[in-house]
């Protein structure tokens, strides 16, 4: 149901969608059942002249059954949902597959900075490619991301990946994704971060290896120029340095 609105681009997007569908089936069943019984009872036992209400305490065993059995069944459904949720969570957030490459994602008021490993495929080297509000990835490649913030909380959210992770100043959080489709997609900040919170739309570009190499080649001159000007280019912040940690 989510793919109708938002494409599923990451390797785990479908798993999250399926979990949501599973929950939807369980809770949908209980919801419909409860509402149907509820409205039927209101209709069936509406006030009529000459018909008195019954005296039912609900304390007898055969009466309590009507509440305790559904409640146990709800518990059973909860177990299925918990198992599904834990499995998906483990896959997305806890179990990091080996990375083909690593990118750095930095949130700040009010932009995303991305540091891509340059042609040498190593992060934190001189040929890193830094961009603002634009993340370039190669399709079918497993990336780790290292996420942090320069000032307040932000949240790195990529709806097509079904991924969201808060960025916290003073911490570096590692996660992963693997894009399986090419195209250009939205990056959001999903945690309020001040008056420019709505001004943090980033762009995610997933490219074929050839396109990605071409993009990297186009950026090589920029990286070289910065390296010549700032030998300690790694520490330079793209915009205002804030906080300091």
């Amino acid at each position: 149901m989510i793919e109708h609105y938002v494409a599923a681009v990451s390797s785990y997007a479908r798993d999250i969608d399926q979990l949501i569908l599973l929950i939807g089936v369980f809770v949908g069943f209980w919801f419909l059942l409860s509402e149907v019984v509820f409205f039927w009872l209101i209709f069936r036992y509406r006030r009529r002249d000459g018909r008195a209400a019954q005296y039912v305490t609900g304390e007898e065993k055969h009466e309590k059954r009507w509440v305790t059995i559904p409640h146990l069944l709800v518990l059973v459904c909860d177990v299925f949902i918990i198992v599904g949720a834990v499995r998906v969570w483990y896959e997305v957030k806890q179990d990091l597959p080996p990375a083909d490459a690593t990118v750095r994602v930095i949130g700040q008021q009010w932009a995303w900075s991305f540091v891509h490993p340059g042609p040498d495929a190593e992060l934190d080297t001189a040929d890193d490619i830094r961009t603002v509000d634009e993340l370039h990835l190669e399709v079918d490649k497993t990336y780790h991301f290292k996420l942090t913030s320069r000032d307040v909380l932000h949240s790195f959210s990529v709806p097509v990946f079904r991924l969201k992770q808060d960025a916290i100043p003073g911490r570096e959080i590692t996660g992963w994704f693997k894009a399986e489709k090419t195209g250009s997609f939205d990056v959001q900040c999903a945690e309020i971060c001040g008056i420019g919170h709505a001004l943090m739309p980033g762009k995610l570009v997933v490219e074929t290896p050839a396109e990605h190499a071409a993009w990297m080649a186009g950026r090589a001159g920029v990286a070289l120029a910065r390296m010549l000007h700032e030998p300690s280019g790694l520490a330079a912040a793209p915009r205002r340095a804030a906080g300091g940690f």
């Binding site: 409205f39 304390e59 009507w66 806890q94 916290i168 959001q188």
Partner: protein, 588 residues
């Protein structure tokens, strides 16, 4: 029957309590007796009352006034979302700064200054002494102080909108560093005043909570054992205990945040060794039980109403009570489901997924019990009953959609989207608005001795319920489509700027306008009914609980003679009795 001894004992008890509170003003038991019958001046009666009913009305009408402020804010920011950049009639341009301040204060007002004062403080104050059969709260002067502090907190909050820099705009959850550092929030005065207002508001409800628990435990009429206490009283007591047990960490957090803002400490500043996530734990350790603090009084009100208008005994009273205890205890173990993706250890998510899904069991059971209560009833759809039934129907939506968010794997996508927003509005709207209208229309004859107009009541009901669903069902869809929260203009996001999504935003806004317009029907009905409504007798609904044995409206001191209780509160349609109700105070 008369109980002079009982009454003296109560008065003496009160003296001891008042002295304990350092309040020696009411010296002798005799003086206290006299005070019940003396004519009070306008100031003593309406402005500085100690009568629980008048304090309840102060809370009720302050809460309703602030609900109008909160509703106006919703109007302003929904207009901006539907028609970005539009000059909103009655407000003007909504800048990003305004937008953040509006959503922040809308949330804070609706929870802290509407749901809390109306459901917990107003209904708690009004109902507890009347329903347990005593003349007033145990600590009437603390009660008065509670409202006074609450009133000051409301003033401070409203001032915070108008200071240089504008009102606080860091969301009602006030996560640091945004809330702690002025150069990030750009509202140096607004954020501090907001925080002070919230802290004062907590103090007010702590004082109120002490009264509720003490009164319900110590001042019950003879014969009213704990299993004969009406569910709504129980639920307000449980809510007060939850509040008092959970608010401590947040008050500590608020002081630390205040120090970070004003004194320059670094509790939440990572650059100096602080931790911003600490605030989230302190906040949600309070914030999640808070959901049940406002839910329980509302769902308790619903129990009173459906039993009266279905003429049915509450199905399995003890199960209802135990589910509330279970919910209360479990509510302290679920807070970190608000923080799944906040950067806490990913392994922790499993524990909180389990506890969160387990808490669905007692709440589901409670709703099953309410539905079972309807079985075999004789249901009349009066205005209060419509509200009470609507509570169940709508709250179910809020309940089931919570499962998506409590399940860690699904929350990765839904966290901080409009799905969350629609979910909690499907819980908070039934609680704060539907629950309030249910209770208010039900007890209105008791409160004011007049009946409200039923036709207008029903017009108001349908004019509120139908648009309510048209506001929030589109927002569920928008959440699924990826609308993230607290964004003042979605046109910046190519995936979200599509016309089919914008149409849903417009639909929600139009529905809000319709719903707000129908609230005038309520206020018109309220004023006309107060002015020339049909006179209400003592017990117009033929209900069992003790408040209906007092005159309408009850005088200062409530009962001409304090009641004796012989049975539980829900003995409706008992076989072999001529009447289909059996008040708690009528001897067998």
């Amino acid at each position: 029957m008369n109980h002079p001894g009982w009454r003296r004992r109560r008065a003496a008890q009160r003296e001891v309590s008042e002295d304990m509170a350092g309040n020696a003003a009411s010296a002798a038991a005799g003086a206290h007796e006299a005070h019940h019958h003396a004519e009070l001046s306008f100031w003593g009666k309406y402005i500085f009352p100690t009568d629980h009913k008048m304090i309840a009305m102060q809370y009720m009408f302050t809460g309703m006034a602030l609900a109008l402020v909160g509703g106006f804010m919703a109007y302003a920011f929904r207009m901006q979302l539907a028609f970005p950049g539009m000059e909103v009639p009655g407000y003007g341009l909504v800048s990003p700064r305004d937008y953040n301040a509006l959503i922040t204060n809308h949330g804070a007002i609706m929870i802290f200054w509407v749901a809390m004062p109306v459901l917990v403080a107003a209904f708690g104050n009004y109902l507890i002494p009347l329903m347990v059969g005593c003349d007033d709260m145990v600590f009437p002067k603390i009660n008065r102080l509670s409202y006074q502090i609450f009133f000051v907190s409301s003033i401070v909050l409203i001032i915070s909108f108008f200071v240089p820099g504008g009102g606080f705009g860091g969301a009602w959850t006030a996560y640091p560093p945004l809330s702690a550092v002025a150069k990030y929030s750009m509202t140096p005065l607004g954020s501090t005043l907001w925080l002070v207002a919230v802290a004062l508001e907590f103090v007010a409800f702590l004082l109120g909570g002490i009264n509720f628990v003490t009164t319900a435990m110590n001042s019950r009429a003879p014969g009213m054992n704990l299993y004969r206490v009406p569910i709504v009283v129980w639920f307000i007591v449980i809510a007060s205990i939850l509040f008092m047990a959970s608010v401590g960490p947040l008050i500590a957090g608020a002081i630390m945040l205040f120090m970070d803002q004003v004194v320059g400490t670094h509790f939440f500043d990572p650059a100096s060794g602080g931790d911003p996530i600490l605030w989230q734990h302190l906040f949600w350790f309070f914030g999640h039980p808070e959901v049940y603090v406002v839910l329980l009084p509302a769902i308790g009100i619903v129990a009173e109403i459906i039993t009266v208008f279905a003429r049915k005994k509450l199905f399995a009273y003890k199960i209802v009570l135990y589910t509330a205890f279970a919910t209360g205890i479990l509510s302290f173990t679920v807070w970190a489901h608000h923080q799944f993706i906040a950067g806490v250890d990913p392994r922790m998510a499993h524990i909180f997924t389990i506890t969160t899904l387990i808490i669905s069991v007692p709440i589901a059971e409670m709703l099953f019990v309410y539905i079972a209560t309807l079985y075999g009833g004789s249901i009349s759809l009066t205005t209060p009953m419509l509200w009470a039934l609507a509570f169940i129907a709508e709250f179910l939506i809020g309940g089931v959609t919570g499962i998506f968010l409590g399940a860690s794997g699904a929350d990765i996508y839904f966290h901080d989207t409009y799905f969350v927003l629609a979910h909690f509005h499907y819980t908070f709207f039934p609680i704060a608005i539907i629950g309030t209208f249910a209770g208010f229309t039900f007890w209105f004859p008791k409160m004011f001795g007049k009946h409200m107009n039923e036709t207008l009541g029903k017009i108001h009901f349908w004019g509120t319920i139908i648009p309510f669903n048209f506001i929030f069902i589109p927002l569920f869809i928008l959440g699924v489509a990826g609308d993230h929260r607290r964004i003042y203009n979605y046109m910046h996001f190519p995936e979200l700027a599509r016309p089919e999504l914008q149409n849903l935003r417009v639909l929600a806004t139009v529905a809000l306008l319709v719903m707000l317009a129908f609230q005038f029907v309520f206020f018109y009905n309220l004023i006309v009914s107060l002015w020339k409504g049909r006179q209400a007798e003592k017990n117009p609904w033929k209900a069992n609980t003790l408040e209906w044995t007092a005159p309408s409206p009850p005088p200062h001191g409530n009962f001409a003679e304090l009641p004796q209780v012989y049975r539980g509160p829900y003995e409706y349609s008992v076989p072999g009795r001529g009447e289909d109700y059996w008040p708690q105070n009528v001897p067998s």
